[in-house]
Subunit: 108 residues, 2 copies
DNA sequence: CGGCATCCCGAAGGATACTG
DNA sequence: CAGTATCCTTCGGGATGCCG
């Protein structure tokens, strides 16, 4: 008896859909891309670079990315306080895959 | 003078964000995955396989996927009418990349 | 400086009924 | 059979102000 393949592995929560959820937010790609290009960046600098993002959205995106281990948040106890965000090693491994995705979309 | 890298290439509409938009809809991955696993599939069969999707959502997703050349829609003028959806060649080239994305998310 | 609290809006997603 | 039409809900995203 052959496998029916009636159901698709994506039906319930699959790794692929999880991945898409992690990077699917509206500003998340820009954030990761900017941190990748510019290295560790302070909150307000990041906000300036991503022109047009609001505080609520940027803060939420950063917190989610941190929870998902895609960026790190380092707080330096100076006066005034300094906070720097940077991408993690796992996130760096993601970049080449994203490059392929970009290349693919250009062949459409 | 070195490049400033102040701006990220994702700031305006980049290929990567376009790609994420194409496959980012809620049921799109399941649709593509099912069509990939099961081959050309009729509308109602697809709807049964993707348990829980409504007509509006499924029809919209399929139309968008067709516009974006990720699936084909073939209409057979029988009685009653028969419509089969299938993934395109460009879409098949996408699959290995998505596999990598899935693998990556499992290493997190 | 680096956010959080609040309020708001439009788009995405969904349920249901109906039709060519 | 393969959808559209209609209406409704939810939620991601956004603007603004304030605070530790």
């Amino acid at each position: 008896m052959q496998p029916t393949h009636d159901n698709c592995p994506c039906m319930d929560d699959c790794p692929l859909n999880r991945a898409l959820g992690l990077i699917g937010g509206k500003w998340k790609m820009q954030i990761l891309c900017s941190l990748y290009n510019n290295g560790p960046t302070r909150y307000n600098q990041l906000k300036k670079t991503l022109d047009g993002v609001s505080n609520t959205v940027l803060a939420n995106a950063l917190r989610e990315l941190e929870e998902d281990r895609l960026v790190t948040r380092r707080e330096y106890l100076e006066v005034p306080v300094r906070v720097e965000y940077a991408i993690t090693e796992p996130c760096k491994r993601l970049i080449p895959i994203l490059d392929q995705l970009g290349d693919w979309s250009m062949t459409l």
